[in-house]
Amino acid sequence: MMNPEIITTFLSGYLHSLREETRDEKTGNKYGFDHVILKLAEADNLIPLRLAFHRGGRKSAPRPKKEAEHGEDLKVISQDGKKLVVFVLKDEPLTYRNWTRHKFDTDIRRAAAQDMTLPAMAAVVEVKLILAYNKDDDEEGGEEFQRLARSFPTRLGDSATLVFERWNLTELTSRVKDKLIGSPTLLPEKFFRQFSYICWQVQDFHHGSDQWREVLIPDWREFLANVLKDPVGEKEVRMVSIALMILEAHAKDDPSWEAGWIELIEYAALALFAAARKTSSKKLTAVISASWGSLYLSQLEEYYRRNAVLLGTTDSLAGGHHRNFPEVVSSHHAYWHMGRLGILALGLMEIGNGLKKAADKEAVLERISGVYVILTSMIRANTSCFRPMLDCHHLQIFLLWRLFSLAGRQADVVHVFSEIYHRLLQRRVNNHGARLIDQQNSWSDYLEYLATGEEPSERFGRSSFLLQMILEICVFDLGPEGVELAEHVYTNLIEGKKPGGESWRFPETVELQSWVPSEDWADAVLSGYAGDKGICITIQSYDAFGQFVDTSLSAKIQEFVSETKDAHPFEAPVGVPFSALVLACMVHNSPLPPGYWRMA
């Protein structure tokens, strides 16, 4: 879970990005910290006497009042009417130069001049004037404030004392962290209703349940879309992190929450990258990229550090609370973790590549090697890692290959692929319930198929992108052992021939398939399923005449890949980390362009 330092960093970043006033402008909604100050006052049971804006209600942003402010932006009073607090708000740094330029001096003077004869002030015994600004300050700015505060009398009217306070960004952050971090009110008022409902769902729904997938996730995505509406600025980006923090405070007291939390961050990260693709602002892109590392990857890393021992425990993934279909459920969990660990390692590598100092690089390398250890021990301990059930599991297998291959561990890849092959063959041969890999990538269909024994459609399990990927990787990267394995996979598993040439007599044929993504693949996959665009290539047979004449399987595969690459050249998209694109594929069950394993 998020540690206090990260919370402080994100919170101060968010507060810093806000303006003085929240209001609706022609260029879009502008969010101010006046709203946050009001919520802080309300958290202290203070009642507003004067607001600088008309509240906007459920859908619209607050509108500024067209009246003289007299320096005071917000005025609140205690329930018993004895304590009056007047806020002077500034979204500028408190410096010597700004003291007069941005009317710090004038506004404080005017705000301090309270008319104590008003009926509302009759019981007031203390007047506190707070200068709150969501930026930094310098010494001279602070001195100016002190000088001015000391120049005022300590009493106001006949009975009230006058006190001055100054809340800079640090103070503001600290107060918000103490009083508002778990409250949806921290977000602008227009999101309150929608976001409160999401907080309630997070408190109630079990991760992965029907409600989670069908209610919470769509609502969360809709909320993200609303926050990140064009034009997206820094405030909106930071607001997403704040929303996540608030959600965390509402976490369900259930072990499933930890993975659920990761999933919520994933949707947020993808929405942010989708927004980044639409902006030309380098600063904004940098903020989004930074949040990928500091929010998603760091949370993922912490999650796996916490659970490393469990993942390395033999058969740990088969020990959940599911009594039925344990072989399917454990495969689901194994591939969930394999994917996330793969993305974590890949993401850290990308961060490491961007670093210049040797010491920093070394530190990242150490973190990466920690991820490798967890991944390897999980695979050793859980045979479900060798049981792909959906075609989209090619993503996790790809990641595994990529990571092991980068580490020069091709022998481990051969071992994993070989285990996968043997298990897939046993599945097809022995007529177990789970015989095929579902190319529709639907757990629901798969489980129903196991429960009823009826295939959900006539094409169920008849095509495989996953096996084509394994064949290509075997031939291109795994040396003679890989080539041999590819021959077994193709002959036994695809063609259904026993080593002696006899047929296994599988009830169905499985066709290999490849895919060419559309040009806008990266944009499409960040916001949804991208497999329905582009061109599908079916491989009817590598040996057109039932046997390889004057050639071999590996030569045919190489020929196929070469022809496909010439016909459909692939260029990796820029601007979004590759690890984020793989995550997008995983979250949306979308295929990964073959170009990624062909370019390695």
Partner: protein
Amino acid sequence: MEWIHDHLAEGIDCGMKGWLVAFLLQYDERCRSLGIAPLGDRILELLPTGVNESWIWGQLQQFLIRLLAESKDRFRELFFQIAVRDRNALGRQLGPDGAMAHLLIEIKQSGGDSMVEDALASDEQSVRQLGITLFGLMRLDSLSTESMDKWTDNRTAMLIFQVQRDPSFDSNHTRFLFAISPRIENGHDELKSLFSDEMVYQMTNLPESCKGFISRRMEENPENVSETVKAALGRAERYLEKLTPCWRSAINSMDVAGYRHASNVLSARRSREMTRHSEASSPLMGMCRKSYLLYGGDGWRIYSGYGLGGINGTKQYSNSMEIPKFAFIDPEGDDIRRFNAIMMIRQLEREEQLREPAVHDES
């Protein structure tokens, strides 16, 4: 009789097989007296027959019981040959619900231990498997040291691989392994390791019955438990202990889409299958009228047109059994394990065949 002899080779259908056995039971003695070859000599040609043909197996049982009374050697020879022909069916028929359960009692009473030991020492894989099955069904606890001392390490390993090959749903295999554990102590490290791994597998596959069995032995008399078994028990306990915190942990608590719906469908399907099976196994149940009570959990009564019947209380029946873990969590892995065991048995058999002449030469 001669006509039957002539036509046996052409093959006979299932229905005729039972009549043939019944026929030979009555007339084999007369055949001998008339100089016609008895049908009993050709009984193997009737096999394999269907597992569900309980009448045929029942007839065969009578024949075998008579043979056992006449000559143990001839019985053993035929019995082992039947195992070679139809090992799986024979194993099932000897079980508590099988048609040959009575034969098992007869074997036990006529010195079943030696029959088991002979079977385990056989060169035939199916006969060795029969030995393991008989060991379990006869609820034996031990084997004679003399017989086990004759086994080579390879032969002992073959028995362990046979245990691997045929899954058990109770503690029979563990009991068998426990019985051969004294032999393991004299074996090579590789054999010890194979044995230990298998013990751990059995105890973690069926913790309640298999680990329970070994734990009870430990409680009763730890001195009778070999070091290898103790070490295996420790490993199994550690495995299960480490799994406890994984239960409902953050790594495996997420739900899978469609799981609940599929579970409901599966439960309904199992319930239908159970009803069908109970009706098939009990003709009486099929004749009974079924009522599906809507309300009222405390009792029920019938109005039949002749007045209101008395109040009957509702009763709940439930049954539970331990499910072998690995067949469910890793079905393909379990298949691969069995496949590897078959390969290993073949390899060890070849090695034994190659070794045996050398032993004879030396002798």
